[in-house]
């Protein structure tokens, strides 16, 4: 039944050699992932040692990261290296296409690295084995300590060439790291590469922190903290570590997100029990009230062009999703299905809104068009919420909690991702329990 996803491979028997013949259609599910061989990158013998990086092993490690990225997309099938038929340096110059075709590879990645004068020089090539030609090639130079990012950038370039879409590998995820028993959770802000590496903690866990979100340049994060037992929205500069309260509100502020230009924060402010949506301009500090209603209005999210805001409100009784102009006019309810809807998040492509739906005691992550039509539920579970989009609008990350026993035992919170096709659901590896994920944009853009 899971035949909706498949890779479109144009048959090469006609031997039209003038263009690349492999391409991947990622708008559908994937029955048959593209067999791809990722050769270890050849390490130039002139390479020098750099700090504590094992330069001799870098070529192999980079290729493993690329393979792992590809495998996680569900669109590619990275082939086992034992079957490889050519040495990395020779393959990189000119592969013997027929030999690689023997192991059923349809695409081949080769590359070379040189570490010299404290610089890491990388080049790689993507080969179309069926058409027997080079599809793309790129060389760049960076600092050797960036070697993991090198692997992600190569992965992005190959993904872009084969799918026609931007990649999402050179990205990070900020989330809330959780530990301790369920009724005494310790929560810290944490950041990691999208593949789970390089985890860093940004707060110590002394106060409760929730819902971190990146700004468009990924240098700032807005989140909610209970510092001094005053629940407020904060702004954190990841590079300098400086943080400040956003605005001077005489009560709880929460559910923050950046505007798409990064200049404003949109959030809820609870005044005498009633939560409405406000924006604050970070430069002028001007606060604007966007909604004014006696119901709960929260979880606001801008459209990528900044013209609209999606939010959830219980003004009709239970939580539903609404869309309005960014000045608060023209409020329209867009969800009318059975159940309760929350956490609308506008796709970076602008075409869809991801949401959490609650129905008959079950929780769903889904997507719909921005007018509420075309609802598709992607995954159902005991508890899950808070989708966040990959920068190319193809994958959602969210968190899922398990049911606890009478003493809270068996409880866990983990990050999961799923393609908007509804396929390729998988758990992200995190060092601790985790919730409230937010996906960065591409770091190298």
């Amino acid at each position: 039944m899971k035949k909706i996803l498949y890779i479109l491979i144009i048959n090469t028997l006609l031997s039209v050699k003038s263009y690349a013949l492999i391409e991947i259609d990622i708008t559908r599910g994937n029955l048959d992932p593209l067999p791809i061989a990722v050769s270890p990158l050849h390490v130039d013998i002139k390479s020098e040692e750099f700090e504590n990086i094992k330069v001799r092993e870098l070529g192999n490690k980079i290729s493993q990261i690329i393979e792992n990225n590809f495998k996680n997309t569900g669109l590619f099938n990275p082939l086992k290296k034992e079957a490889f038929v050519q040495k990395p340096d020779i393959a990189h110059l000119k592969p013997r296409f027929e030999d690689w075709r023997l192991i059923k590879a349809q695409a081949l990645v080769t590359g070379k690295i040189l570490v010299k004068n404290e610089k890491l020089k990388v080049e790689f090539r993507l080969w179309d084995l069926t058409a027997a030609q080079e599809m793309t090639a790129l060389a760049f130079t960076t600092t050797p300590s960036n070697w993991r990012r090198v692997a992600h950038i190569i992965s992005d370039k190959i993904y872009e060439r084969l799918t026609g879409e931007n990649g999402y590998f050179d990205t990070r995820i900020i989330y809330v790291a959780e530990s301790g028993p369920k009724n005494q959770r310790v929560k810290k802000l944490a950041i990691m590469d999208q593949d789970g590496s390089n985890t860093k903690y940004l707060t110590l866990g002394n106060e409760l922190v929730l819902t971190p979100r990146f700004n468009p340049t990924n240098q700032m994060v807005t989140y909610m903290s209970y510092f001094r037992n005053m629940p407020r929205v904060y702004l954190l500069d990841i590079e300098t570590g400086t943080q400040e309260v956003v605005g001077n509100f005489p009560g709880m502020t929460f559910a923050p997100r950046f505007s798409p230009d990064g200049k404003k924060i949109i959030m809820s402010f609870a005044k005498e029990g009633n939560s409405d949506i406000y924006t604050m301009d970070l430069e002028s500090r001007i606060v604007e009230r966007i909604t004014e209603h006696s119901s709960i209005d929260t979880s606001p999210s801008f459209s990528p062009d900044g013209k609209f805001i999606a939010f959830n409100s219980d003004r009709s009784g239970l939580q539903q999703i609404y869309v309005m102009r960014s000045d608060g006019t023209n409020v329209k309810r867009i969800t009318f299905g059975k159940g309760i809807y929350g956490t609308p998040v506008w796709s970076p492509r602008g075409d869809l809104i991801a949401f959490t739906k609650m129905h008959k005691g079950r929780f769903f992550i889904g997507v719909m068009r921005t007018d509420g039509t075309g609802e598709r539920l992607l995954t159902e579970n005991y508890y899950q919420e808070a989708p966040s989009w990959s920068p190319n609008g193809r994958v959602l990350v969210f968190y899922r909690e398990t049911k606890a026993g009478t003493k809270g035992e068996g409880f866990s919170a983990k990050l999961w991702s799923i393609d908007i096709t509804g396929y390729n659901e998988r758990r992200l590896s995190t060092k601790t329990d985790a919730s409230d994920p937010s996906w960065s944009s591409l770091l190298s853009k």
Binding site: N183, M224, A255, S268, I296, T356, A404
Partner: protein, 158 residues
Amino acid sequence: MTLYTNLKNIFLVILAALILSACSTAKKSGVIDGDVYTGTETVEYLAAGVPDRVFFATNKSSLTTASRATLRKQATFLRKNKNLNVTIEGHADERGTREYNLALGERRANAARDYLMTYGISGKRISVISYGKEKPVNPASSPIAWSQNRRSVTVKVN
């Protein structure tokens, strides 16, 4: 095979009986009315006979008759202890999205605060804070636990 089936049937009957009796004891002891908690298991006291918390129905912040009675006792207690200030903590159960639950906890705490104020307690003496679903009193994932967690708790500040 038949033995196995028989055993299985007996087991199912016992299980059903257990479930039924569990339900009836819950009803008899009056632990949940509708889906509002009416028991005393998690309740603490500001003073003798003055419960510190009231409970809410799912997604609701309206006060039940029992909640109003509790809050009137709190108001009487606060009138007698004029120098005492309190914080009302609003909470939600785990079966809702985090951000909405923060707003819901705020609304519940304010419902309790407003009621105390109508009984003559100055709003200056009552601060509110919402913890959403972040601080469950009962960590279990069960209807009883959720009903105990949908609460506002009046806490002495000084």
